[in-house]
Symmetry: C2
Subunit: 249 residues, 2 copies
């Protein structure tokens, strides 16, 4: 290892951004995160394009760079420009009674996207995940999901275009079929490489990635998108979610 490599490794060790931890010896280096997670920078020309296509001023989170990275946003905008719609998918793991401001940031931005592009939105409440990770009872996880749903609804999404669901209520049917299809394509080694599970982790953790992956397929929601199996999906989320967990699978 030469000196440069050594320096780089050292810097990487100093900065950890995962769904479970954010730490750094100095400032977070966002350019490095973008590279590491295979994203692209959300530059001014893309912000201008959003403004041109929607006929609205870009959201303050875009102007100020709060949302600073994307993956294939240009492809979705190309399709939108040709008259194709897309849908939005975001979610929440209900691990507490109420959402704080940080939790609300992606929802506030998602509302802007829904209003600007006039598109449908699905919001997944992963009560099954929190039941398994936080060792909550099924009933408590469902209660928290309902409480959190109230805070999310308060953001003011278009009620005619928004579907909020709890996994415990909704998993089954077309959604479960897609889970099985995804599970077949992912080896245990792959999820260990991404999540760092050990043999002592329970199989609920190992089998969860498909649950979080399949809302990005329109066929998981036949009552919303029947016959639109090629509809594109845009997922507003924090960089830690892009980087290590479910969407790399």
């Amino acid at each position: 290892m030469d000196k440069n490599e050594e320096k780089q490794r050292e810097e990487e060790r100093e900065q950890v951004v995962s769904p479970w931890e954010v730490s750094s010896s100095g400032k977070i280096d966002y350019d490095k995160l973008i590279d590491k997670f295979g994203c692209q920078r959300l530059d001014q020309s893309l912000v201008d394009r959003v403004q041109r296509l929607t006929g609205r001023p870009p959201h303050v989170f875009l102007r100020r760079g709060v949302f600073f990275a994307h993956r294939d946003l240009n492809d979705i905008l190309d399709a939108y420009e040709k008259g194709e719609k897309f849908y939005l998918y975001t979610g929440r793991g209900p691990s507490s009674e109420a959402l704080h401001l940080g939790h609300l940031v992606p929802f506030m931005f998602t509302k802007y996207l829904q209003d600007a592009f006039k598109v449908p939105l699905v919001i997944q409440l992963t009560d099954d995940e929190k039941c398994m990770w936080k060792n909550l009872s099924v009933e408590e996880s469902q209660r928290l999901a309902r409480e959190n749903a109230k805070d999310i609804i308060a953001c003011g999404f278009d009620v005619t275009k928004t579907f909020i669901f709890s996994d415990f209520d909704y998993v089954g049917g077309a959604f479960y079929k897609n889970m099985v299809k995804v599970a077949k394509c992912v080896t245990y080694n792959k999820v260990v490489g991404i999540f760092g599970f050990t043999g002592e982790d329970h199989i609920g953790k190992v089998s969860f990635p498909p649950v979080q992956a399949v809302p990005s397929f329109p066929s998981s929601f036949p009552h919303l998108f029947s016959g639109k199996d090629h509809l594109r999906c845009l997922i507003p989320c924090a960089i830690d979610q892009v980087g290590s967990p479910f969407f790399l699978v």
Copy 2:
């Protein structure tokens, strides 16, 4: 290792009984299987007890020792004698168009048990399992499940007391909640110890045991057993199923 131990190990190597393989250098030693899989021998006194309790001659499969082992059957009969009912759970992995005689043996015996004890029965068609193990499409697995259901129905179960379901149709709701509860209790190391999975196996295999385990809980069938969460379950199946797979988990 002394000579006796060595001999025993040698004999064990010569006899393999698993859901995927049955082989032996000589005859299968059933007493050894019973010990290995933690079962008890289904002896004459137990056969006599079934006859006494049901007022029927025991099924030929009992008289001739085709069903030769059990686990805790006495407990179920104790409860039955006190007026408590139980339910039966068996199933089929739909991997071919039609059932052959070997496949029908457990169903024929299950029909006898249902008639003799006048109890409800659930029959699970694990089309999700075959989709993952045999790499069939979802649609083909479901088609085979329907075809196999016809053969099973032809055994003549009591239509007022029998629920046949495909996993692709039925997983969800209370059934899925129980799957999550079971998954939380089973480590990856545990399923590897039982099934011998490797890191290159897909996570669908790793996450399947709960699907096969939860039909043994009455709360997985709220439309059948609502309020009867402590109803006992008797599972007629082949010894290979008892021994290595889902019910050891």
